[in-house]
Protein backbone atom coordinates (compact mmCIF):
# COMPACT_ATOMS: atom_id res chain seq x y z
CA UNK A 1 0.00 0.00 0.00
CA UNK A 2 2.03 2.89 -1.14
CA UNK A 3 1.82 5.92 -3.30
CA UNK A 4 -0.65 8.70 -3.96
CA UNK A 5 -2.40 8.60 -7.30
CA UNK A 6 -3.82 11.75 -8.83
CA UNK A 7 -6.34 11.12 -11.58
CA UNK A 8 -5.64 13.61 -14.37
CA UNK A 9 -8.59 15.64 -15.65
CA UNK A 10 -8.03 16.48 -19.26
CA UNK A 11 -9.93 16.93 -22.49
CA UNK A 12 -8.15 16.88 -25.84
CA UNK A 13 -4.82 17.06 -24.04
CA UNK A 14 -5.69 20.18 -22.07
CA UNK A 15 -5.08 19.42 -18.42
CA UNK A 16 -7.34 21.18 -15.93
CA UNK A 17 -5.58 23.31 -13.36
CA UNK A 18 -7.11 21.37 -10.46
CA UNK A 19 -4.90 18.44 -11.48
CA UNK A 20 -1.80 20.56 -10.87
CA UNK A 21 -3.28 21.75 -7.59
CA UNK A 22 -3.67 18.15 -6.43
CA UNK A 23 -0.17 17.15 -7.61
CA UNK A 24 1.28 20.12 -5.74
CA UNK A 25 -0.58 19.46 -2.48
CA UNK A 26 0.13 15.72 -2.60
CA UNK A 27 3.86 16.42 -2.12
CA UNK A 28 3.06 17.28 1.50
CA UNK A 29 2.06 13.74 2.41
CA UNK A 30 5.54 12.35 1.76
CA UNK A 31 4.42 9.41 -0.36
CA UNK A 32 5.42 8.95 -4.00
CA UNK A 33 3.01 10.84 -6.24
CA UNK A 34 1.84 9.39 -9.54
CA UNK A 35 -0.38 11.01 -12.12
CA UNK A 36 -2.86 8.64 -13.77
CA UNK A 37 -3.96 9.64 -17.23
CA UNK A 38 -6.37 7.92 -19.61
CA UNK A 39 -6.90 9.01 -23.19
CA UNK A 40 -5.69 8.88 -26.73
CA UNK A 41 -2.28 10.38 -27.41
CA UNK A 42 -1.80 11.48 -23.81
CA UNK A 43 1.72 10.16 -23.06
CA UNK A 44 3.03 13.54 -24.21
CA UNK A 45 1.41 15.16 -21.17
CA UNK A 46 4.03 13.62 -18.87
CA UNK A 47 6.50 16.54 -18.83
CA UNK A 48 3.72 18.95 -17.85
CA UNK A 49 2.61 16.63 -15.03
CA UNK A 50 6.21 16.13 -13.88
CA UNK A 51 6.61 19.88 -13.48
CA UNK A 52 4.22 19.81 -10.52
CA UNK A 53 5.71 16.78 -8.85
CA UNK A 54 4.55 13.61 -10.59
CA UNK A 55 7.28 11.03 -10.03
CA UNK A 56 5.47 8.62 -12.32
CA UNK A 57 2.87 9.08 -14.99
CA UNK A 58 0.71 5.99 -15.41
CA UNK A 59 -0.67 6.11 -18.91
CA UNK A 60 -3.54 4.07 -20.34
CA UNK A 61 -3.71 4.86 -24.05
CA UNK A 62 -6.54 3.58 -26.17
CA UNK A 63 -9.29 4.76 -28.48
CA UNK A 64 -11.77 3.58 -25.88
CA UNK A 65 -10.50 6.33 -23.52
CA UNK A 66 -10.56 9.14 -26.10
CA UNK A 67 -13.59 10.70 -24.34
CA UNK A 68 -14.68 10.08 -20.77
CA UNK A 69 -17.13 7.21 -20.48
CA UNK A 70 -18.00 5.75 -17.12
CA UNK A 71 -17.88 2.04 -17.91
CA UNK A 72 -14.47 1.91 -19.59
CA UNK A 73 -12.82 4.31 -17.15
CA UNK A 74 -14.17 2.40 -14.15
CA UNK A 75 -13.05 -0.97 -15.53
CA UNK A 76 -9.55 0.34 -16.21
CA UNK A 77 -8.98 2.23 -12.99
CA UNK A 78 -10.48 -0.48 -10.77
CA UNK A 79 -8.15 -3.07 -12.36
CA UNK A 80 -5.14 -0.79 -11.84
CA UNK A 81 -6.04 -0.12 -8.20
CA UNK A 82 -6.48 -3.81 -7.49
CA UNK A 83 -3.16 -4.62 -9.07
CA UNK A 84 -1.04 -1.87 -7.51
CA UNK A 85 -2.85 -1.06 -4.23
CA UNK A 86 -1.98 2.63 -3.98
CA UNK A 87 -2.45 4.23 -0.55
CA UNK A 88 -4.66 7.01 -1.85
CA UNK A 89 -6.44 7.98 -5.06
CA UNK A 90 -7.63 11.56 -5.56
CA UNK A 91 -9.88 12.98 -8.25
CA UNK A 92 -11.01 16.46 -9.17
CA UNK A 93 -14.55 17.24 -8.03
CA UNK A 94 -15.70 17.77 -11.61
CA UNK A 95 -18.62 16.07 -13.36
CA UNK A 96 -16.35 13.30 -14.59
CA UNK A 97 -14.24 13.06 -11.45
CA UNK A 98 -17.13 12.57 -9.08
CA UNK A 99 -18.89 10.14 -11.40
CA UNK A 100 -15.76 8.01 -11.73
CA UNK A 101 -14.79 8.21 -8.05
CA UNK A 102 -18.19 7.20 -6.69
CA UNK A 103 -18.53 4.31 -9.09
CA UNK A 104 -15.02 3.02 -8.31
CA UNK A 105 -15.61 3.45 -4.58
CA UNK A 106 -18.70 1.27 -4.77
CA UNK A 107 -17.13 -1.32 -7.02
CA UNK A 108 -14.23 -1.76 -4.58
CA UNK A 109 -16.49 -1.21 -1.54
CA UNK A 110 -14.63 1.87 -0.31
CA UNK A 111 -15.43 5.07 1.51
CA UNK A 112 -15.17 8.30 -0.43
CA UNK A 113 -15.09 11.94 0.65
CA UNK A 114 -16.27 14.29 -2.09
CA UNK A 115 -15.85 18.01 -2.74
CA UNK A 116 -13.03 18.31 -0.22
CA UNK A 117 -11.27 21.49 0.80
CA UNK A 118 -8.45 19.92 2.81
CA UNK A 119 -6.86 16.50 3.04
CA UNK A 120 -4.45 14.94 5.46
CA UNK A 121 -3.32 11.59 4.16
CA UNK A 122 -1.11 9.09 5.94
CA UNK A 123 -0.59 5.35 5.61
CA UNK A 124 -4.00 3.69 5.44
CA UNK A 125 -5.90 6.76 6.54
CA UNK A 126 -7.27 9.98 5.14
CA UNK A 127 -8.94 12.83 6.98
CA UNK A 128 -10.77 15.21 4.66
CA UNK A 129 -12.48 18.52 5.37
CA UNK A 130 -15.63 18.98 3.33
CA UNK A 131 -18.03 21.83 3.08
CA UNK A 132 -21.59 20.80 3.90
CA UNK A 133 -24.93 22.63 3.93
CA UNK A 134 -23.72 24.64 0.96
CA UNK A 135 -20.76 26.02 2.85
CA UNK A 136 -22.67 26.86 6.02
CA UNK A 137 -20.80 24.15 7.94
CA UNK A 138 -17.71 21.99 7.65
CA UNK A 139 -17.28 18.30 8.34
CA UNK A 140 -14.11 16.34 8.92
CA UNK A 141 -14.48 12.90 7.41
CA UNK A 142 -12.23 9.98 8.16
CA UNK A 143 -11.76 7.33 5.51
CA UNK A 144 -10.06 4.19 6.69
CA UNK A 145 -10.80 1.84 3.77
CA UNK A 146 -7.90 1.26 1.38
CA UNK A 147 -7.13 2.98 -0.84
CA UNK A 148 -8.21 6.29 0.68
CA UNK A 149 -10.37 8.11 -1.87
CA UNK A 150 -11.42 11.73 -2.23
CA UNK A 151 -12.55 14.27 -4.80
CA UNK A 152 -11.10 17.76 -4.45
CA UNK A 153 -12.74 21.10 -5.18
CA UNK A 154 -10.95 23.19 -7.80
CA UNK A 155 -9.12 26.29 -6.65
CA UNK A 156 -8.64 25.47 -2.97
CA UNK A 157 -5.00 24.40 -3.20
CA UNK A 158 -2.00 26.37 -4.46
CA UNK A 159 -0.14 25.29 -7.55
CA UNK A 160 3.58 25.01 -6.87
CA UNK A 161 6.23 23.90 -9.29
CA UNK A 162 8.14 20.96 -7.97
CA UNK A 163 10.08 18.94 -10.50
CA UNK A 164 9.26 15.23 -10.41
CA UNK A 165 10.84 12.52 -12.51
CA UNK A 166 7.71 12.09 -14.63
CA UNK A 167 8.70 8.57 -15.59
CA UNK A 168 6.12 7.30 -18.06
CA UNK A 169 4.69 3.90 -17.24
CA UNK A 170 2.44 2.46 -19.92
CA UNK A 171 -0.16 0.29 -18.27
CA UNK A 172 -2.03 -2.57 -19.92
CA UNK A 173 -5.43 -1.64 -21.24
CA UNK A 174 -7.97 -3.67 -19.30
CA UNK A 175 -11.19 -2.02 -20.47
CA UNK A 176 -12.98 -3.53 -23.45
CA UNK A 177 -15.91 -2.47 -25.62
CA UNK A 178 -18.11 -4.67 -23.42
CA UNK A 179 -17.53 -2.25 -20.52
CA UNK A 180 -19.06 0.67 -22.38
CA UNK A 181 -22.77 1.11 -21.66
CA UNK A 182 -23.29 4.80 -22.35
CA UNK A 183 -23.70 5.93 -25.91
CA UNK A 184 -22.48 9.53 -25.98
CA UNK A 185 -24.19 10.77 -29.11
CA UNK A 186 -22.90 14.28 -29.04
CA UNK A 187 -20.67 16.56 -27.00
CA UNK A 188 -21.49 20.23 -27.30
CA UNK A 189 -18.58 22.28 -25.98
CA UNK A 190 -19.26 25.58 -24.30
CA UNK A 191 -17.57 28.01 -26.63
CA UNK A 192 -16.05 30.83 -24.66
CA UNK A 193 -12.83 32.75 -24.85
CA UNK A 194 -13.13 33.30 -21.11
CA UNK A 195 -11.65 31.00 -18.47
CA UNK A 196 -13.78 28.28 -16.91
CA UNK A 197 -15.78 29.62 -13.93
CA UNK A 198 -14.46 27.18 -11.36
CA UNK A 199 -10.86 27.80 -12.34
CA UNK A 200 -10.88 31.54 -12.93
CA UNK A 201 -8.79 33.90 -10.85
CA UNK A 202 -11.32 36.68 -11.31
CA UNK A 203 -15.09 36.23 -11.57
CA UNK A 204 -17.49 39.07 -12.29
CA UNK A 205 -21.13 38.14 -11.74
CA UNK A 206 -24.27 39.97 -12.66
CA UNK A 207 -27.68 39.60 -11.03
CA UNK A 208 -31.20 40.83 -11.52
CA UNK A 209 -29.93 44.35 -10.86
CA UNK A 210 -28.28 44.24 -14.32
CA UNK A 211 -31.85 44.51 -15.65
CA UNK A 212 -31.05 42.93 -19.02
CA UNK A 213 -28.41 42.30 -21.68
CA UNK A 214 -27.03 45.85 -21.49
CA UNK A 215 -26.19 45.46 -17.82
CA UNK A 216 -24.68 42.05 -18.48
CA UNK A 217 -22.56 43.59 -21.26
CA UNK A 218 -21.00 45.88 -18.65
CA UNK A 219 -20.24 42.89 -16.45
CA UNK A 220 -18.65 41.11 -19.41
CA UNK A 221 -16.52 44.08 -20.37
CA UNK A 222 -15.29 44.39 -16.80
CA UNK A 223 -14.48 40.66 -16.64
CA UNK A 224 -12.58 40.78 -19.93
CA UNK A 225 -10.41 43.65 -18.75
CA UNK A 226 -9.15 41.35 -16.00
CA UNK A 227 -9.07 38.15 -18.04
CA UNK A 228 -11.84 36.90 -15.78
CA UNK A 229 -14.87 34.65 -16.07
CA UNK A 230 -18.46 35.87 -16.14
CA UNK A 231 -21.03 34.40 -13.78
CA UNK A 232 -24.54 35.12 -12.69
CA UNK A 233 -27.17 34.67 -10.03
CA UNK A 234 -30.10 32.39 -10.69
CA UNK A 235 -32.23 35.43 -11.44
CA UNK A 236 -30.06 36.44 -14.40
CA UNK A 237 -29.78 32.85 -15.63
CA UNK A 238 -33.55 32.32 -15.36
CA UNK A 239 -34.09 35.55 -17.25
CA UNK A 240 -32.02 34.10 -20.08
CA UNK A 241 -29.30 36.75 -19.95
CA UNK A 242 -26.58 34.16 -19.32
CA UNK A 243 -26.17 30.44 -20.04
CA UNK A 244 -27.10 28.03 -17.25
CA UNK A 245 -23.51 26.82 -17.00
CA UNK A 246 -22.64 30.26 -15.63
CA UNK A 247 -24.86 30.11 -12.54
CA UNK A 248 -22.95 30.61 -9.32
CA UNK A 249 -24.42 29.16 -6.14
CA UNK A 250 -25.83 26.15 -4.44
CA UNK A 251 -27.47 24.76 -7.57
CA UNK A 252 -24.80 26.15 -9.87
CA UNK A 253 -21.04 26.31 -9.65
CA UNK A 254 -18.91 26.88 -6.60
CA UNK A 255 -16.19 29.38 -7.44
CA UNK A 256 -12.97 30.14 -5.62
CA UNK A 257 -11.35 33.14 -7.31
CA UNK A 258 -8.94 35.68 -5.89
CA UNK A 259 -11.45 38.39 -6.77
CA UNK A 260 -15.23 38.05 -7.03
CA UNK A 261 -17.27 41.05 -8.10
CA UNK A 262 -21.03 40.88 -7.51
CA UNK A 263 -22.97 43.46 -9.50
CA UNK A 264 -26.69 43.81 -8.80
CA UNK A 265 -26.83 40.61 -6.76
CA UNK A 266 -28.72 40.68 -3.45
CA UNK A 267 -26.73 37.85 -1.85
CA UNK A 268 -29.37 35.18 -1.20
CA UNK A 269 -28.01 32.34 0.92
CA UNK A 270 -28.06 30.02 -2.12
CA UNK A 271 -25.89 32.46 -4.04
CA UNK A 272 -23.45 32.92 -1.16
CA UNK A 273 -23.00 29.13 -1.12
CA UNK A 274 -21.21 29.43 -4.44
CA UNK A 275 -18.89 32.35 -3.81
CA UNK A 276 -18.32 33.05 -0.14
CA UNK A 277 -14.91 31.36 -0.11
CA UNK A 278 -13.55 33.85 -2.68
CA UNK A 279 -10.45 35.63 -1.39
CA UNK A 280 -11.66 39.20 -2.07
CA UNK A 281 -15.26 40.18 -2.70
CA UNK A 282 -16.35 43.50 -4.18
CA UNK A 283 -20.08 44.25 -4.38
CA UNK A 284 -22.04 46.93 -6.15
CA UNK A 285 -25.65 47.27 -5.05
CA UNK A 286 -28.12 50.14 -4.72
CA UNK A 287 -29.56 48.67 -1.53
CA UNK A 288 -27.29 49.32 1.43
CA UNK A 289 -29.10 46.55 3.34
CA UNK A 290 -28.38 43.90 0.69
CA UNK A 291 -27.12 40.69 2.39
CA UNK A 292 -24.25 40.45 -0.11
CA UNK A 293 -22.50 43.19 1.86
CA UNK A 294 -22.08 40.81 4.81
CA UNK A 295 -19.55 38.76 2.81
CA UNK A 296 -18.01 41.74 1.02
CA UNK A 297 -14.55 43.24 1.50
CA UNK A 298 -15.29 46.39 -0.44
CA UNK A 299 -18.90 47.35 -1.01
CA UNK A 300 -20.16 50.23 -3.09
CA UNK A 301 -23.71 51.38 -2.41
CA UNK A 302 -24.79 52.69 -5.77
CA UNK A 303 -26.03 52.14 -9.30
CA UNK A 304 -23.98 49.66 -11.30
CA UNK A 305 -24.95 51.43 -14.55
CA UNK A 306 -23.16 54.53 -13.27
CA UNK A 307 -20.29 52.88 -11.42
CA UNK A 308 -19.12 50.17 -13.82
CA UNK A 309 -18.53 52.40 -16.89
CA UNK A 310 -16.32 54.72 -14.81
CA UNK A 311 -14.60 51.73 -13.26
CA UNK A 312 -13.82 50.35 -16.72
CA UNK A 313 -12.36 53.71 -17.81
CA UNK A 314 -10.32 53.92 -14.64
CA UNK A 315 -8.90 50.40 -15.00
CA UNK A 316 -7.95 51.09 -18.60
CA UNK A 317 -5.82 54.06 -17.57
Amino acid sequence: MAGTWIFVEQRDGNIRKVTFEMLSEAQKWGDEVSAVVFGKGVAGLAPELAQYGAAKVLVAEDDIFAEYNTGAYVAQLAAMIEESSPNAVLFAHTFNGRDLAARIAQKLELGLATDCLEADISAGKGVFTRSIYAGKALAKVEIASAPVMGTIRAGVWEVTENAGAGEVVNVDVKATAADVYQNVKEFIPTVSARPELTEADVVVSGGRGCKGPEGIALVEELADLMGGAVGGSRASIDSGWLGHELQVGQTGKVVNPTLYIAAGISGAIQHLAGMSSSKFVVSINTDEEAPIFSVTDLGAVGDLFKIIPTLIEELKK
Partner: protein, 251 residues
Protein backbone atom coordinates in the same frame (compact mmCIF):
# COMPACT_ATOMS: atom_id res chain seq x y z
CA UNK B 1 -43.24 0.51 -16.84
CA UNK B 2 -42.51 1.37 -13.24
CA UNK B 3 -40.55 4.42 -12.12
CA UNK B 4 -38.88 4.57 -8.74
CA UNK B 5 -37.65 7.82 -7.21
CA UNK B 6 -35.15 8.11 -4.36
CA UNK B 7 -35.82 11.10 -2.13
CA UNK B 8 -33.91 12.46 0.82
CA UNK B 9 -35.31 14.75 3.44
CA UNK B 10 -33.04 17.76 3.93
CA UNK B 11 -33.01 21.10 5.72
CA UNK B 12 -34.68 23.99 3.97
CA UNK B 13 -31.95 25.66 1.90
CA UNK B 14 -32.60 28.92 3.81
CA UNK B 15 -31.89 27.23 7.15
CA UNK B 16 -29.31 28.75 9.46
CA UNK B 17 -26.88 26.09 10.63
CA UNK B 18 -25.93 25.81 14.30
CA UNK B 19 -24.02 23.23 16.29
CA UNK B 20 -25.29 21.56 19.44
CA UNK B 21 -23.08 19.12 21.37
CA UNK B 22 -20.70 19.04 18.43
CA UNK B 23 -23.39 18.03 15.95
CA UNK B 24 -25.54 19.92 13.46
CA UNK B 25 -28.67 20.98 15.32
CA UNK B 26 -32.03 20.40 13.66
CA UNK B 27 -33.97 22.38 16.27
CA UNK B 28 -36.57 24.59 14.65
CA UNK B 29 -35.47 23.66 11.12
CA UNK B 30 -38.05 23.36 8.38
CA UNK B 31 -37.53 20.07 6.54
CA UNK B 32 -38.07 19.69 2.80
CA UNK B 33 -37.50 17.18 0.01
CA UNK B 34 -33.97 17.71 -1.28
CA UNK B 35 -34.65 20.16 -4.16
CA UNK B 36 -32.78 17.94 -6.65
CA UNK B 37 -34.95 14.96 -5.65
CA UNK B 38 -38.09 17.07 -5.93
CA UNK B 39 -37.20 17.54 -9.59
CA UNK B 40 -36.78 13.76 -9.88
CA UNK B 41 -40.30 13.26 -8.44
CA UNK B 42 -41.74 15.78 -10.91
CA UNK B 43 -40.00 14.07 -13.82
CA UNK B 44 -41.34 10.68 -12.75
CA UNK B 45 -44.86 12.10 -12.64
CA UNK B 46 -44.42 13.54 -16.13
CA UNK B 47 -43.23 10.15 -17.40
CA UNK B 48 -46.39 8.62 -15.98
CA UNK B 49 -48.60 11.37 -17.37
CA UNK B 50 -47.14 10.78 -20.83
CA UNK B 51 -48.46 7.23 -20.50
CA UNK B 52 -44.98 5.74 -20.39
CA UNK B 53 -45.32 4.38 -16.87
CA UNK B 54 -48.09 2.95 -14.73
CA UNK B 55 -46.66 3.50 -11.30
CA UNK B 56 -44.38 5.92 -9.45
CA UNK B 57 -42.86 4.57 -6.24
CA UNK B 58 -41.00 6.85 -3.83
CA UNK B 59 -38.30 5.51 -1.54
CA UNK B 60 -36.49 7.30 1.25
CA UNK B 61 -33.80 5.98 3.57
CA UNK B 62 -33.75 7.94 6.80
CA UNK B 63 -35.40 8.51 10.15
CA UNK B 64 -39.13 8.22 10.93
CA UNK B 65 -39.43 11.90 10.09
CA UNK B 66 -38.39 11.25 6.47
CA UNK B 67 -41.90 9.92 5.91
CA UNK B 68 -42.90 13.60 5.54
CA UNK B 69 -40.76 13.82 2.40
CA UNK B 70 -42.49 10.71 1.07
CA UNK B 71 -45.91 12.20 1.86
CA UNK B 72 -44.99 15.36 -0.01
CA UNK B 73 -44.03 13.30 -3.06
CA UNK B 74 -47.31 11.36 -2.75
CA UNK B 75 -49.18 14.65 -2.54
CA UNK B 76 -47.48 15.73 -5.76
CA UNK B 77 -48.91 12.56 -7.33
CA UNK B 78 -46.66 9.56 -6.65
CA UNK B 79 -48.54 6.30 -6.03
CA UNK B 80 -46.92 4.73 -3.01
CA UNK B 81 -43.94 5.06 -0.72
CA UNK B 82 -41.36 3.01 1.10
CA UNK B 83 -39.50 4.31 4.13
CA UNK B 84 -36.32 2.46 4.93
CA UNK B 85 -35.41 3.25 8.50
CA UNK B 86 -31.72 3.90 8.75
CA UNK B 87 -29.36 5.67 11.16
CA UNK B 88 -28.57 9.31 10.51
CA UNK B 89 -24.84 8.57 10.46
CA UNK B 90 -25.02 5.97 7.69
CA UNK B 91 -22.52 6.97 5.00
CA UNK B 92 -23.06 6.96 1.24
CA UNK B 93 -21.90 3.36 0.99
CA UNK B 94 -24.45 2.17 3.54
CA UNK B 95 -27.25 4.30 2.05
CA UNK B 96 -26.55 2.97 -1.42
CA UNK B 97 -26.54 -0.64 -0.23
CA UNK B 98 -29.91 -0.26 1.44
CA UNK B 99 -31.52 1.60 -1.46
CA UNK B 100 -30.14 -0.88 -4.01
CA UNK B 101 -31.73 -3.72 -2.04
CA UNK B 102 -35.17 -2.11 -2.21
CA UNK B 103 -34.69 -1.29 -5.88
CA UNK B 104 -33.81 -4.86 -6.76
CA UNK B 105 -36.90 -6.06 -4.88
CA UNK B 106 -39.12 -3.52 -6.64
CA UNK B 107 -37.52 -4.08 -10.05
CA UNK B 108 -38.45 -0.72 -11.63
CA UNK B 109 -37.50 0.09 -15.24
CA UNK B 110 -36.01 3.42 -14.34
CA UNK B 111 -34.81 5.08 -11.14
CA UNK B 112 -34.63 8.83 -10.79
CA UNK B 113 -32.74 10.63 -8.02
CA UNK B 114 -31.26 14.09 -7.50
CA UNK B 115 -27.60 14.17 -8.54
CA UNK B 116 -26.63 15.73 -5.22
CA UNK B 117 -28.23 16.41 -1.85
CA UNK B 118 -28.45 19.99 -0.64
CA UNK B 119 -27.29 19.02 2.86
CA UNK B 120 -24.18 16.85 2.59
CA UNK B 121 -23.45 17.81 -1.01
CA UNK B 122 -21.78 14.48 -1.58
CA UNK B 123 -23.22 13.44 -5.00
CA UNK B 124 -22.44 9.77 -4.50
CA UNK B 125 -25.55 7.77 -3.71
CA UNK B 126 -27.20 7.43 -7.17
CA UNK B 127 -23.86 6.55 -8.76
CA UNK B 128 -23.14 3.96 -6.10
CA UNK B 129 -26.63 2.45 -6.39
CA UNK B 130 -26.18 2.11 -10.17
CA UNK B 131 -22.87 0.32 -9.62
CA UNK B 132 -24.39 -2.14 -7.14
CA UNK B 133 -27.22 -2.91 -9.54
CA UNK B 134 -24.83 -3.09 -12.49
CA UNK B 135 -26.98 -0.52 -14.29
CA UNK B 136 -26.00 2.29 -16.60
CA UNK B 137 -26.33 5.75 -15.15
CA UNK B 138 -26.68 9.18 -16.66
CA UNK B 139 -25.41 11.79 -14.24
CA UNK B 140 -26.63 15.41 -13.98
CA UNK B 141 -29.43 15.12 -16.54
CA UNK B 142 -31.11 18.29 -17.77
CA UNK B 143 -33.56 16.57 -20.14
CA UNK B 144 -35.02 13.06 -20.29
CA UNK B 145 -36.62 11.14 -23.13
CA UNK B 146 -37.71 7.55 -22.91
CA UNK B 147 -38.37 5.49 -26.03
CA UNK B 148 -37.70 1.98 -27.34
CA UNK B 149 -36.33 0.72 -24.04
CA UNK B 150 -33.78 3.51 -23.89
CA UNK B 151 -33.34 6.74 -21.97
CA UNK B 152 -31.68 9.70 -23.65
CA UNK B 153 -30.59 12.75 -21.71
CA UNK B 154 -28.89 16.00 -22.23
CA UNK B 155 -26.52 16.25 -19.33
CA UNK B 156 -23.95 18.61 -17.92
CA UNK B 157 -20.37 17.65 -18.60
CA UNK B 158 -16.99 19.25 -18.05
CA UNK B 159 -16.59 21.98 -20.63
CA UNK B 160 -20.01 21.59 -22.21
CA UNK B 161 -23.10 19.42 -22.46
CA UNK B 162 -23.51 15.98 -23.84
CA UNK B 163 -26.31 13.86 -25.16
CA UNK B 164 -26.10 10.39 -23.70
CA UNK B 165 -28.22 7.34 -24.35
CA UNK B 166 -28.46 4.23 -22.20
CA UNK B 167 -30.52 1.07 -22.24
CA UNK B 168 -33.13 0.56 -19.51
CA UNK B 169 -33.17 -0.32 -16.68
CA UNK B 170 -31.08 2.69 -15.78
CA UNK B 171 -30.43 5.26 -13.10
CA UNK B 172 -30.88 8.89 -14.09
CA UNK B 173 -29.70 11.56 -11.68
CA UNK B 174 -31.36 14.87 -12.08
CA UNK B 175 -30.23 18.48 -12.22
CA UNK B 176 -32.60 21.21 -11.03
CA UNK B 177 -32.96 22.68 -14.52
CA UNK B 178 -34.74 19.50 -15.68
CA UNK B 179 -38.19 20.85 -14.82
CA UNK B 180 -40.20 23.05 -12.49
CA UNK B 181 -41.69 20.86 -9.73
CA UNK B 182 -45.43 21.26 -9.16
CA UNK B 183 -46.88 22.25 -5.81
CA UNK B 184 -49.06 19.61 -4.20
CA UNK B 185 -52.74 20.54 -4.59
CA UNK B 186 -55.17 20.46 -1.66
CA UNK B 187 -56.73 17.40 -3.22
CA UNK B 188 -53.31 15.81 -3.65
CA UNK B 189 -52.52 16.40 0.01
CA UNK B 190 -55.80 14.76 1.08
CA UNK B 191 -55.25 11.79 -1.23
CA UNK B 192 -51.66 11.37 -0.05
CA UNK B 193 -52.91 10.56 3.43
CA UNK B 194 -54.58 7.43 2.11
CA UNK B 195 -51.77 6.26 -0.15
CA UNK B 196 -49.77 3.28 1.12
CA UNK B 197 -46.37 3.80 2.75
CA UNK B 198 -44.46 0.71 3.82
CA UNK B 199 -41.87 0.99 6.53
CA UNK B 200 -38.98 -1.43 6.55
CA UNK B 201 -35.88 -1.66 8.73
CA UNK B 202 -32.60 -1.23 6.89
CA UNK B 203 -30.28 -4.19 6.88
CA UNK B 204 -27.18 -3.52 8.97
CA UNK B 205 -24.39 -2.20 6.76
CA UNK B 206 -21.15 -0.88 8.17
CA UNK B 207 -20.21 2.59 7.00
CA UNK B 208 -16.83 3.18 5.38
CA UNK B 209 -16.62 6.91 6.07
CA UNK B 210 -17.04 8.52 9.45
CA UNK B 211 -17.61 12.16 10.30
CA UNK B 212 -15.28 12.92 13.19
CA UNK B 213 -15.93 16.62 13.60
CA UNK B 214 -18.40 19.31 12.61
CA UNK B 215 -17.47 22.98 12.59
CA UNK B 216 -18.83 26.30 11.45
CA UNK B 217 -16.73 28.30 9.01
CA UNK B 218 -15.01 31.38 10.37
CA UNK B 219 -17.17 34.42 9.90
CA UNK B 220 -15.66 36.84 7.47
CA UNK B 221 -14.48 40.10 9.06
CA UNK B 222 -16.81 42.92 8.12
CA UNK B 223 -15.52 44.77 5.10
CA UNK B 224 -15.88 48.39 4.05
CA UNK B 225 -19.15 49.72 2.69
CA UNK B 226 -18.80 52.98 0.79
CA UNK B 227 -21.46 55.49 -0.15
CA UNK B 228 -20.97 58.52 -2.33
CA UNK B 229 -20.88 59.73 -5.90
CA UNK B 230 -20.59 56.96 -8.53
CA UNK B 231 -17.21 58.34 -9.71
CA UNK B 232 -15.73 58.19 -6.22
CA UNK B 233 -17.03 54.67 -5.73
CA UNK B 234 -15.58 53.58 -9.08
CA UNK B 235 -12.18 55.02 -8.12
CA UNK B 236 -12.23 53.21 -4.79
CA UNK B 237 -13.05 49.90 -6.49
CA UNK B 238 -10.34 50.42 -9.12
CA UNK B 239 -7.83 51.08 -6.37
CA UNK B 240 -8.93 47.95 -4.49
CA UNK B 241 -8.69 45.77 -7.62
CA UNK B 242 -5.18 46.98 -8.44
CA UNK B 243 -3.65 47.35 -4.99
CA UNK B 244 -5.46 44.90 -2.69
CA UNK B 245 -6.55 42.06 -4.95
CA UNK B 246 -3.52 42.80 -7.17
CA UNK B 247 -5.29 41.83 -10.37
CA UNK B 248 -3.47 42.39 -13.62
CA UNK B 249 -5.39 44.58 -16.08
CA UNK B 250 -5.45 43.68 -19.78
CA UNK B 251 -5.62 47.01 -21.56
Amino acid sequence: MKVLVCVKQTFDTEAKIDLKDGKISDAGINMIINPYDEVAVEEALQVKEKGLAKEVVVVSAGSDKAVEAIRTALAMGADRGILVKQDADADEFARAKVLAKIISDEAPNIVLAGHVAADDGSSQVPTRVAEILGWPHINVATTLEIADGKATCNCEADGGNQITEVALPAMISTQVSLNEPRYPSMKGIMQAKKKPVDTVEAEAVESKAKIIEFALPEAKAAGKKLEGEPEELALAIADFIKNEAKVEIKK
